[in-house]
């Protein structure tokens, strides 16, 4: 398998070198070269709550691509597909936290949870004001009555963005935690995998899937999900996914849903826009308006083929915060696409 890399040992640091040298919004932290921090227009951490996340690399642009104004204050970058260690996350917390407090976002996977929560325990010993907010949205990983056991997937970006915008506007720590939990409770995601990514560590595909099968609900590292289905018109696949999402989280006719159509790295924009179109149609057929879509490849697993659809039923200020301007290297500008187009 061909990969553009020097060596498995240097791939993460080579990538971060390239990233921080290319964009004015980001820089390396002082505590460790594996910490990427917001560089432009940093606000006083005694006044603004800071947000950070630690995650394994190999899924770019998430999460280091979302460091900047109106989003994350820092990202702690782990090895490929491996959660950063607790002490490295602790360094990240030290780097950004102030009197206003700090939220460590954790996309729920076992290693990330253990290391992230351990980092928060150690930070609390240093009298740093920090909270952990686990994020989970993948409906295939656990049933609704065990929601707290679900994996984090692309729908976590709703939490990043909405909390990022709210923190930028000065929302205090406790209110941000409440808002984050509310967004989490209103978000659902389901993925469809078409073909595996290739691990840069082993050079091998991360799972096997026959050419004529699609796997519903597979996790970003190939974790098992709901099951297999055949390949047919994408309309049928998207309708199946939308029905499963609404079966888990019903939205009444006349309601609305913000949508993320996320590509996994090896799926074209042409395909993703088609998926969005069918998502919009499937929701409209059930009386639900699809609004403010985020479409593209943001939570990736190398060249993995496939996509996920995430829905958020917005409440309160969520939609305004979701579409609020931000300034990071890779988070897109999202418009409120509620304009009823005549067609």
């Amino acid at each position: 398998m061909k990969k553009l890399m020097n060596a498995a040992e240097s791939i993460v640091d080579d990538m971060i070198d390239g990233y921080v040298s290319a964009f004015e919004q980001v820089a390396r932290g002082h505590q460790d070269p594996r910490i990427v921090v917001r560089a432009k227009g940093r606000k006083d951490p005694d006044r603004k709550v800071t947000l950070l996340i630690g995650n394994g690399s190999g899924h770019e642009p998430i999460a280091m691509g979302f460091v900047g104004a109106g989003l994350l204050d820092a990202n702690v970058v782990g090895d490929v597909f491996a959660a950063p260690s607790a002490d490295l996350i602790l360094d990240g917390i030290r780097e950004v936290s102030g009197k206003a407090g700090c939220i460590l976002l954790i996309s729920q996977h076992s290693g990330d949870m253990i290391n992230g929560r351990a980092a928060v325990m150690l930070a609390a010993e240093e009298r740093l004001r920090v909270r952990a907010l686990p994020m989970y949205d993948d409906i295939s990983s656990a049933p609704r009555d065990r929601m707290q056991d679900r994996r984090g997937a692309a729908g976590t970006m709703f939490v990043y963005k909405i909390l990022g915008a709210a923190a930028e506007a000065g929302m205090p720590l406790d209110d941000l935690m409440t808002l984050g939990r509310a967004v989490r409770a209103r978000t659902v995601t389901l993925a469809a995998a078409l073909s595996p990514g290739i691990s840069p560590l082993t050079g091998q595909p991360m799972f096997d899937l026959p050419d004529d099968e699609i796997y519903l609900g597979m996790g970003v590292h190939g974790e098992p999900g709901i099951g297999r289905t055949g390949v047919g018109p994408v309309r049928d696949l998207v309708t199946l996914i939308v029905d499963k999402l609404l079966g888990d989280y019903p939205i009444a006719s006349g309601g609305q849903a913000a949508v993320i159509v996320n590509g996994m790295g090896g799926t074209t924009l042409m395909e993703l826009l088609t998926v969005w179109n069918e998502t919009r149609n499937a929701l409209a057929a059930r009386g639900i308006a699809a609004v403010a879509p985020m479409i593209g490849s943001f939570v990736t697993t190398q060249e993995m083929g496939g996509f996920s659809i995430s829905l958020l039923e917005p409440a309160g200020d969520m939609l305004r915060l979701w579409t609020a301007p931000s300034d990071t290297p890779f988070f897109p500008s999202i418009r409120h696409a509620e304009k009823e187009k005549s067609q």
């Binding site: 491996a82 959660a83 260690s85 607790a86 002490d87 290693g111 949870m113 253990i114 929560r117 351990a118």
Partner: protein, 181 residues
Amino acid sequence: MTGPEFFLALQARIAVHADALNRLDAALGDGDHGATMLRGLTRAAQADRGAQAKAFMRASGGASGTLFGLILIEIERHLNENAALGEGLQRACERIKDLGQVTTGDKSMIDALAPAAHALAEGTVQDAVDAATAGRDRTRDLSARRGRAQYVENGGRGHVDPGAVSVVIILETLAGKESAL
């Protein structure tokens, strides 16, 4: 014993037992427990006084690096700053239970650590070693309820838990004592 002396001695002991720990782990998990411990301790032994447990966490990586790191942080504090060892191990025990969602009887490092921490409340380090050793031996007849071992046949019954073995080695090193695995 100082912190740096402890990490040097522990690194040497784990180096001797790494292959055996890997073999024990292969019966229950992914077979790398000895290698993971050794990688962390090799780095820790080279780190500055006071920064050794965190160097272990960083270098060993993964969840097990974090959980063992929480024990080593307390031992390091005890040796360098004279912090109470019993309280420290009790704190590490509670944290590991919380983070790993394990409790006594789940066939894990907790089966050795919890009785050791309890023994230290009134006893000596040697009492803690004895309690941990008995706990380690009890894991042979337990079946795992957490971690990879729960998917192994019979939950891995018949094999001692490698994490519990490592806890005993850590405490034996602290007691300045050598014994067979």
